[in-house]
């Protein structure tokens, strides 16, 4: 993997375990292995889509990458610096370059703070701008995300869901970041509003040269927006590659099952489609299956899958999968 600046972010064997209290007499501490040894890199200026079923660890990954939660182990290189080794002022300074957009912007906005102040405050705190200059920048930010600056003194509650997400995006942009984790940014929005926000995110990415880790469970939207896609299952990265490859030539049976399950918004196509249903439930993250974690649901399960965890290997240029079916 080259390190000459093509990659803005490199994650190495990242783990985040949460302690779990089991019963009163539980001996030893059990863990939820929310992120369990994940390695990947993000190219400067790309949109890396990230999918997987709820509870598989997507949000934890996003937060741990940004050091909003400290990893259990592993490394996260941002612009060549290992964030896991940094603390205090150094980390704080780098953090301005990395931001996050949440599913529910309302919960991350202070209801008693006018939106203008919500934008200005981080600029002042991080010494980026103050006074009149900060005010002007706030106005610019509002225009950038398609909100009328006339509303600068209004409160979050006075805006619709889609507008609030625009405010959340403006706030993430206030510190001039280069990398943004978008954690389900459209999941709580209505269909007609989702497209607005996706178009906005896409325009900003191009205009400002941003890099996104775009987390979503909406596979069609991820396909639409991403240059590459990573697929997670129970704390593991099971496949990652260029979008077209991931959609049309998926190698991991789980990735294949995900695409199979997503309905196509065309009744003519759906009528003729024989959907291969993936049986069974998603196992709990607290007690993942042995070997390949997907083996309990995999239609192609082999004895080795129950015993041995498959490694993530490159099977086509830039296309990696962790599956015993594919031995190089």
């Amino acid at each position: 993997m080259d390190t000459n600046g093509a990659y803005i972010l490199r994650v190495e064997d990242l783990k985040k375990y949460f302690p779990l209290r089991r019963g009163l007499l539980g001996r030893g501490i059990a863990h939820v292995k929310a992120v369990d040894g994940i390695s990947f890199a993000v190219r400067r200026g790309e949109i890396l889509g990230w999918v997987g079923e709820s509870g598989c660890g997507k949000s934890t990954l996003g937060r741990t990458v940004l050091q909003l939660e400290r990893p259990t182990s592993g490394k996260v290189f941002f612009d060549g610096q290992d964030l896991t080794q940094l603390g205090g002022e150094q980390l704080r300074r780098l953090r301005t370059k990395m931001q996050i957009i949440f599913q529910n912007p309302y919960s991350s906005l202070n209801p008693r703070m006018p939106i203008g102040r919500a934008l200005i405050e981080p600029m002042v705190v991080h010494g980026i701008a103050r006074g009149k200059q900060a005010q002007e920048r706030a106005i610019e930010l509002l225009q950038l995300v398609g909100l009328n600056p006339y509303f600068i003194n209004r409160f979050p509650s006075e805006f619709s869901g889609g507008q609030r997400q625009r405010i959340g995006i403006a706030r993430a942009l206030a510190l001039n970041p280069s990398f943004i984790v978008c954690d389900e940014p459209i999941s709580s929005l209505d269909v007609s509003i989702q497209a607005q926000i996706i178009n906005l995110l896409q325009r900003l990415q191009q205009q400002l040269g941003l890099t996104y880790l775009f987390i979503s469970h909406d596979l069609r939207m991820v396909q639409h927006i991403s240059d590459r896609i990573g697929v997670m299952y129970l704390g593991k990265l099971v496949e990652i590659g260029p979008t077209e490859e991931m959609v049309h030539h998926a190698l991991h049976p789980y990735t294949q099952a995900l695409w199979e399950a997503v309905p196509i918004p065309d009744p003519e196509v759906e009528e003729k489609r024989q959907v291969a249903i993936l049986e069974g439930d998603v196992p709990t993250a607290a007690n993942p299956p042995s070997g390949c974690r997907f083996h309990t649901r995999c239609p192609y399960v082999m004895p080795v899958c129950r015993e041995e965890e498959p490694a993530l290997v490159e099977l086509a240029p830039g296309h990696f999968a962790a599956c015993h079916l594919h031995k190089r």
Partner: protein, 334 residues
């Protein structure tokens, strides 16, 4: 005669901020064994219009302000509460997004299903129990006899939804109303539930009203589609017809805003500007008018009513047949 005939249904809520016209003159028909998908953005009245059929609207603040809903010839909205018991759960059953709101958390699931069977038919307790196990097996609950005594919290979200479906179909209803039953589920589990309901629909020959905001899902499930906006139906018709030749600008906008594979690198999606209206102060004329790119003078004056376009396709728009044709074709890609 259709199985269900809804005429000019109106439901209001009196809130401290004003009167919410949640359902504002909804009319449609549903044939025996048909599958109608109801789509629209949140708050447009999908759930309320369905709940009203079973008179499950909380009153107050709600009120069925008008209309009829003929089911097998009887007006559900005019029946006495007592007469409704013969229909609710027996002839019309309903499943919801969150099964936990309908399941009793402190009662074993098998007993809940048996109870539903016992209440709704004249069988013995023992027979109800036997049938409960049978119907649990039918909906794909593994080892139903062993799991009979398990409580709802011991089941996954997908399994709880199966239990709900078991209760709903236990009396072989003629109509199943499914209000976003898969919205909270993961995509692979959603696919399982959808296949299950489709299979049961075929086996039992029941009609289904499936409420969703997911246009992909409705394409998979429904034979007819009803598009709602701000408490009204703006378009209704056979699903293939509506998807291939949408007539209302809102339907058109919705269909164009869903991604259909890549339309070339970095192509923006078509989207609808603005946001759905405040249901307390609806705009004058057509409720969609403030967001409509084809809005004309007449649209500000009068509310359009549904116009039949043939083959059971209806749309409510003043500018029907006068919209720019190229705009009506959603972009399609791989």
């Amino acid at each position: 005669m259709p199985l269900l005939q809804v005429e000019d249904l109106r439901v209001h809520f009196r809130t401290k901020d004003g009167l919410v016209r949640a359902v504002n003159g909804v009319s449609y028909e549903l044939e025996e064994g048909d599958i109608l998908g109801i789509v629209g953005e949140s708050g447009c009245g999908k759930s309320v219009s369905a709940l009203a059929l079973l008179r499950l609207i909380p009153e107050p603040p709600g009120e069925i302000a008008g209309g009829h809903a003929y089911f097998e010839g009887q007006d559900l909205l005019a029946l006495k509460r007592k007469e409704l018991y013969g229909i609710r759960g027996r002839k019309i059953a309903m499943i919801f997004q969150d099964p936990m709101t309908s399941l009793n958390p402190v009662m074993p699931i098998g007993e809940q299903v048996a109870e539903a069977i016992w209440v709704n038919s004249s069988v013995s307790r023992r027979e109800a129990r036997r049938r409960a196990i049978e119907v649990l097996a039918q909906v794909g609950v593994p080892a139903p006899a062993e799991r009979y005594k398990d409580y709802p919290h011991q089941f996954s979200g997908g399994m709880r939804q199966r239990v709900m479906i078991a209760m709903a179909i236990s009396c072989q209803p003629r109509l199943l109303i499914a209000d976003e039953p898969t919205t909270a589920l993961d995509v692979t589990i959603q696919a399982q539930i959808v296949e299950l309901v489709k299979r049961l629909q075929r086996e039992l020959g029941m009609a289904v009203i499936w409420i969703t905001h997911d246009l992909g899902l409705v394409a998979r499930v429904a034979r007819r589609i009803c598009v709602m906006y701000a408490g009204r139906i703006v378009e209704i018709g056979p699903i293939k017809e509506v998807f291939s030749r949408p007539q209302h600008p809102y339907t058109l906008g919705l269909l164009a805003s869903v991604p259909r594979g890549r339309t070339g690198r970095r192509q923006p999606l078509r989207h609808i500007e603005g946001a759905p209206p405040d249901m307390i102060s609806l705009p004058p004329g057509c409720a969609f008018q403030p967001r409509c790119q084809f809005c004309a003078e007449e649209c500000l004056q009068e509310e359009p009513s549904l116009v039949a376009l043939g083959d059971g396709h209806l749309a409510a728009c003043h500018r029907l047949g006068r919209l720019p044709v190229e705009a009506l074709a959603p972009k399609v890609a791989s």
